[in-house]
Amino acid sequence: MSGKLRDESKLYDSPPYILEVEDLWVKAGDNLILKGLDLRVGVGKLHVIFGPNGSGKSTLLGAIMGLPQFEVIKGDIKFRGRSILGLSTDERAKLGIGLAFQRPPLIKGVRLRALLATLNGGDAKIEELADNLDLKNHLDRELNDGFSGGEMKRSEILQLLVQRPELILLDEPESGVDLENITLLARFIGELLERGKHIVDRKRSGIIITHTGHILSYLNADIAHVMMEGKILCHGSPMDVLHQIKAKGYKECVECLLAEQSKEEAA
């Protein structure tokens, strides 16, 4: 099966690619998490990855970002056609990759404002952006100290809005966020990804991880993937895939989608 999935035509996006993940095997500590994962993201596209807990979704984003707890043992990750495996986390960030953490750490002493100032070299607009995200009163607080789930997620998006990466990795951006705040959050994720622009003008690309799919009610993604046991098993249109998962659960969904795909292939 995996042989077929690595076929160009079955990767469900088209060049130019901003990101190419090829046969990626990744360990976290002693555990093998990713087992030959393939994924290509075209410039301006937003992909969504569904998958049960423990399927390796966060590991994938962490490996792309180059977080030190993830060790790539085989395969390659290319950003704009160039392998980034030899680059440190900060070098990848400087190239234009940004990650909104699912659970960002509490960093005592480091105030949100101080971090934002280092990200954009003291450029203005911080106040305005913070105000838009309803975080004005958090600028002088220590990072994630006593932040609610929603405040943490908005702070992640605020940091990315200042950082302005070209490839935006969003790890469960809606988890722990109450419904009324999802709208606000989704609006700024949309802005970050230039979703308001015409499709040909979008330069920023993204990958969103979700296991509830709530965020998709507010944000249109282009392509969905289902991930299980360290691999991407199938692809489809985001709403179709979400409905399948909701109706049948992951396992059946995957089987069903695979059947559909082989029918299409046969046709």
């Binding site: 970002m65 030190p68 707890q69 900060d90 400087k94 002493g109 280092t118």
Partner: protein, 367 residues
């Protein structure tokens, strides 16, 4: 008078908050190099800045304040100070005077192997407000030396005294400040201590006795370089109803040895005290030994403490690196933030120079 001091030393004076240019607003100045009083100046009418020896002649009552807040026979260093002639300052705010600009003082050790011994007395008269900045430095070429000081603070009824001390010694200098404060009814005493540069040994444990509704706060920021030994702390005795106390310290060890002590005694009703000892270890060498002590001697006292000693978590570094900061900048940002406790009532210029020193201590090869 400061003409005699070479340019590069003047810069170091500035680093500890001592302005010799006259540009910054100061209520008075006092400067000692080795055992010579180089400058004594008062600029505002409600404040007095005198050599202690002179004050003893002018005001017979000063004699009664000698060795009252710090007993003569407390230890070998107070004994040495008691035997020496009283070199040091007498700074006083007159009753009701609100002296907003700080009085600046500096002890400058410029001769190698010199033992500088000083005795200071500070009096904030009833209802007054007084801010003192004291910088202690040694000349860059001083390889060995000793600074022994005995300082007594008297905060009268309803007065406010802030005392900020910045140490900027060099390796091989040993420092033994001995100080004590009496805080009368409704008085407020705030002591700030900053030590970010190396020293061979610094040992200090000031004690404040707080009377009815008074407050004593001790705040310290310490960065211990390799081969530096700090034994620091403070004790606050809440002796009468309504007295409050706070001891907050932030210690970074980059290989140095630090003992961080704190003691609060709640001996009367409606007293409250809080202590925070936070330590950050950057290397396997060195240690931070936090010894927070609380003693409640009545049921109507509320005392609490938080103490934490640890390293920077790797995920904090990688998080900041994912935002594009290199590893060194990420560590420096965390350490700088850790040391930033927004010291109470500190004059702006001194806060600036402390920020600058924190920046220096946490950048380049230092970490």
């Amino acid at each position: 008078m400061t003409d005699k001091i070479p340019e590069e030393e003047l810069k170091r004076l500035e680093r500890v908050g001592y302005d010799s240019s006259g540009k910054l607003h100061r209520a008075g100045s006092f400067l000692i190099t080795d055992d010579q009083i180089v400058e004594t100046e008062k600029k505002e009418k409600d404040v007095e800045v005198l050599p202690l020896k002179k004050a003893l002649e002018v005001y017979p009552w000063v004699e009664e304040l000698m060795f009252r807040a710090v007993p003569k026979d407390k230890d070998e260093y107070t004994k040495i100070a008691a035997k020496n002639p009283p070199i040091g300052y007498f700074i006083r705010a007159l009753p009701g005077a609100k002296v907003k600009a700080p009085v600046q003082a500096c002890f400058f050790l410029k001769t190698t192997r010199f033992s500088q011994v000083v005795h200071n007395i500070v009096v904030a008269e009833p209802g007054s407000e007084l801010h003192i900045i004291t910088g202690c430095i040694s000349a860059f070429y001083v390889k060995e030396g000793k600074h022994i000081s005995l300082t007594e603070y008297y905060v009268r009824k309803g007065a406010l005294l802030t005392y900020s001390m910045v140490h900027d010694w060099s390796y091989e200098v040993e420092v033994f400040p001995r100080s004590g404060a009496e805080v009368e009814d409704g008085g407020v005493f705030v002591s700030n201590y900053v030590a970010l540069t190396p020293a061979k040994k610094v040992q200090s444990y000031p004690l404040a006795r707080v009377k009815k509704d008074g407050f004593a706060g001790f705040y310290s920021i310490v960065y211990a370089h390799p081969d530096t030994y700090f034994d620091l702390g403070a004790a606050t005795l809440l002796e009468e109803p309504g007295a409050r106390g706070e001891i907050i310290s932030r210690v970074v060890s980059n290989g140095g040895e630090v003992i961080s002590r704190g003691h609060i005694l709640g001996a009367a009703g409606k007293t409250a005290g809080h202590m925070e000892c936070s330590g950050l270890l950057l290397k396997d060498e060195g240690y931070i030994h936090a010894i927070p002590e609380l003693k409640g001697a009545t049921s109507d006292t509320e005392l609490s403490h938080e103490a934490a000693v640890g390293r920077i978590a790797p995920e904090e570094i990688s998080y900041l690196m994912s935002r594009g900061l290199d590893e060194e900048s990420a560590r420096a940002l965390i350490i700088r933030g850790f040391l930033d406790i927004k010291i109470k009532d500190l004059p702006e210029e001194l806060q600036k120079s402390i920020d600058e020193m924190i920046k220096t201590a946490t950048s380049g090869g230092a970490i």
